[in-house]
Symmetry: C2
Subunit: 468 residues, 2 copies
């Protein structure tokens, strides 16, 4: 093979350095999930396409990676019968004929499927987390990959706002441990519904929220223009403008909204749904105050992510010191498992975007220094007899949990030094015939150049030096 | 959807209990890999089919899961042109036309591809481990899945037998930590080559080794019959029988083989390759003695796994107290990366079969008891005000790493008790209005029934109780 091998576009290899850094993120997130009583599950990489299709919209269906049926999926297929009226193959139908399975597109749909399938084995409220790769046949670009990890934490089977609070506390704790300053924005889908209602356009909730979601990026005038373009009346646009102009503390914004939803807006229309959303928000912010979180939280009336999905609380986290979009988000879905035949199961969850968090930590230089070095002590290879002499010392240190290598070849010392240097190994032992005769082991701190001699049985002494 | 959802055959969901048990295996294996200076990499789930095809034999090619090209892979395809002379579709060719990518079949080929692709970034000898799922479209059966994890540890770029020793030490340490008694069998491919040579049938090394590999299962007579059936002469069969009859210590077996390879067998033929294999085995067993491993190791002249692959040492591990076949195996391949254009890279590695190890631990009841419970303390929900009172206590305990839940609903205490019971939560706090008024927290050990009262600020005291 003449060409250097490569991997499919949008996919990545992770080096030892990168894997250590990614594990640091995963381990941090897991440790926080666990202190809140969430436990891990795993679902298979492949799901039946019947589980996945129709859950992510038409665009999502196109982005599913489909797995060709094994054995011979072609025999007996009349390909011509898969042509549409335009003479072209009907790709969705033909794909479905050739492929029963697809790769996981997110962790939420497999989770819903899992809960329904295993409902008799599960104790509710069910607190689970899941950290696995997902696959999307998206056009690859900077920061967007075709295989990436999601870290989801959800609780299903409880409507209590205490669950929302826990997610806020989890966000707080994770980013505190990662040493990244973030802002957590909170909204409620019912407030967005109420907004459309008092605009006199209850059927236009999607148009309105899609428009106001862009406020940060395009500014107020463009948002107003987009709403007018979608057929919203001037008075409706005026109501939205009134709401987007609200400022002050969370309590002040909630109070002002309460008045508007009570009928005090320009339209004079009131909204019970909107008021119910405000009740939920007020309860959640009261709990946040009682629990005392450090993260900056705010009510953002323009936040609308995952609109087709969430029914109550909506969350979004952005890094304050690194521009990359949302690094974590989620919300409550009142009927998560309904699509699989189990109604009235309310769930709330958030998903941490490991790849973006990685980019933030890299950009802000926030990875701890110690991640890189995997080996603490390298025994230079001074020859066969010398190696046999140090073998039990190395074994005893490993039994104590110390990462120890013996250089496998009796190469020139320069080469062995270089190896330690390239791997950032901090300690080197050059134990030769003299030390073996004396029953000792010599260890050098490669940073300071300091050398020490230990009795070969003094494992505790060696260990103490290595942990300096 | 009326039907309960399901997952594709041969795939598995892992519950919280199972995931905790599997993580225990992975974490144990990783911790050992790390003390020997191996560091983790990850490769993408999908590889180009050109990387995978032809690496696992014809049977392996059939077992690859292929991923349908995204977008529209059909337009412009003349399906009729993919018919063979028999009129049927040529499935391999048509699959290749529709699919550029396939799912990882093992971790070895992606590793070889990785080493070649990143050779300029890697320091050799390169010590890496990799723990990821692989996919095979095998017929599912008990203990055989279509998605399963491999845990591979390899070093590439060094021919020293010290690397083989390290793998033996790793096997020793992993199964000691997992508390499973195992036997490690070792052989050398050169010895098998030598065997065929002194049989006067150097071209029949595969037939001979396939036959003797079955010795354990079918007995000597059946092995002899199979060899005769493959066209081996009576004198060749007699030589093999002579070797399989060898017993005694490793040193005795090596000495006896040395004589046979020197020309003392019935055929009178000698084998330099066989003698070289014995030299390697002797060196390795001498190193094993010097290092002092606890695991039972033996030279097994009938061991032949992965014959098409390994060129020197061959390893296989079996559990002594649970019958399940090999749970770990590996060997040295002298030209691992040659298929990708980088010649003369010798590597040696072993692979731990996580699923079979899981079955062994389950069968022998060797999982530690503590794995199951994820939450240490549940605060019962006694109402809104009481919850707000315990929130900071729960937060302080979590900050100390304690896994704490607050029951999300103010349900009947019976229901909350049941929840604690089902989740095996050992401690319950019923902190109501009286405790809140007194500034205290009550905690009950659910196993002993013992109750204790703490000042709400006495986090250290509570933590000490919970860690009893």
């Amino acid at each position: 093979m003449a060409n250097k091998p490569s991997i499919p576009k949008g996919m990545r290899d992770f080096s030892q350095q990168e894997t250590a850094e990614r594990n640091y993120i995963f381990d941090t997130i897991k440790s926080v999930f666990r202190t809140f009583g969430y436990a891990q599950i795993e679902t298979p990489s492949m799901e039946n396409l019947s589980t996945l299709l129709g859950k992510y919209g038409d665009e999502g269906d196109k982005l599913l990676f489909r797995v060709l049926n094994s054995g011979d999926p072609f025999t007996g297929t009349d390909f011509e019968s898969f042509r549409g009226e335009d003479g072209a193959f009907n790709a969705p139908l033909l794909s479905k004929h050739l492929c029963d399975k697809g790769l996981r597109y997110d962790l939420t749909v497999p989770f819903a499927r899992y809960v329904v399938q295993h409902q008799n084995e599960i104790s509710f409220p069910f607190k689970r987390f899941q950290i696995q790769p997902v696959w999307r046949a998206d056009r690859p670009q900077k920061g967007r990959y075709r295989e990436f990890y999601q870290c989801d934490v959800d609780v299903i089977g409880s409507r209590s706002q205490l669950n929302e609070l826990e997610l806020v506390q989890i966000v707080d704790k994770v980013f505190a441990l990662l040493d990244v300053r973030v802002a957590l924005k909170i909204n409620n889908r019912k407030v967005l519904t109420g907004l459309a209602e008092i605009c006199g356009a209850p059927d236009k909730v999607v148009d309105i929220t899609v428009a106001i979601d862009k406020l940060d990026k395009v500014g107020l005038d463009a948002v107003k223009e987009e709403m007018s373009g979608k057929g919203l009346s001037d008075s409706a646009v005026a109501v939205v403008e009134q709401i987007l102009a609200l400022s002050g503390t969370v309590q002040e914004k909630i109070a002002a909204m309460r008045a508007l939803f009570g009928g005090a807006s320009a339209s004079g229309i009131s909204s019970q749904t909107g008021l119910a959303g405000l009740d939920e928000l007020e309860e959640l912010f009261t709990l946040i105050d009682a629990a005392g979180v450090a993260v900056s939280t705010d009510l953002d009336l323009s936040l609308a992510r995952g609109l087709n999905y969430y029914t109550c609380a909506i969350f979004e986290v952005k890094a304050l010191d690194w521009q990359i979009g949302s690094i974590c988000g989620g919300g409550r879905y009142d009927n998560l498992t309904g699509i699989f035949g189990l109604p009235d199961m309310s769930g709330v969850g958030i998903s941490f975007g490991a790849d973006r968090i990685y980019d933030v930590l890299k950009g802000l230089d926030k990875f701890p220094a110690g991640l890189r070095s995997t080996t603490t002590l390298l025994f230079a290879n001074m020859g066969e007899a010398e190696v046999r002499y140090v073998l039990p010392v190395a074994a005893a240190l490993r039994a104590e949990g110390v990462a120890v290598e013996i250089y496998p070849e009796s190469s020139k010392l320069k080469k062995q030094f270089d190896y330690a240097d390239r791997k950032s190994i901090p300690f080197l032992s050059i134990t030769g015939a003299d030390e073996a005769a004396a029953g000792t082991v010599q260890i050098k701190n490669l940073a300071t150049g300091e050398q020490k001699i230990f009795d070969k049985t003094d494992i505790a002494g060696i260990k103490a030096l290595l942990q300096l």
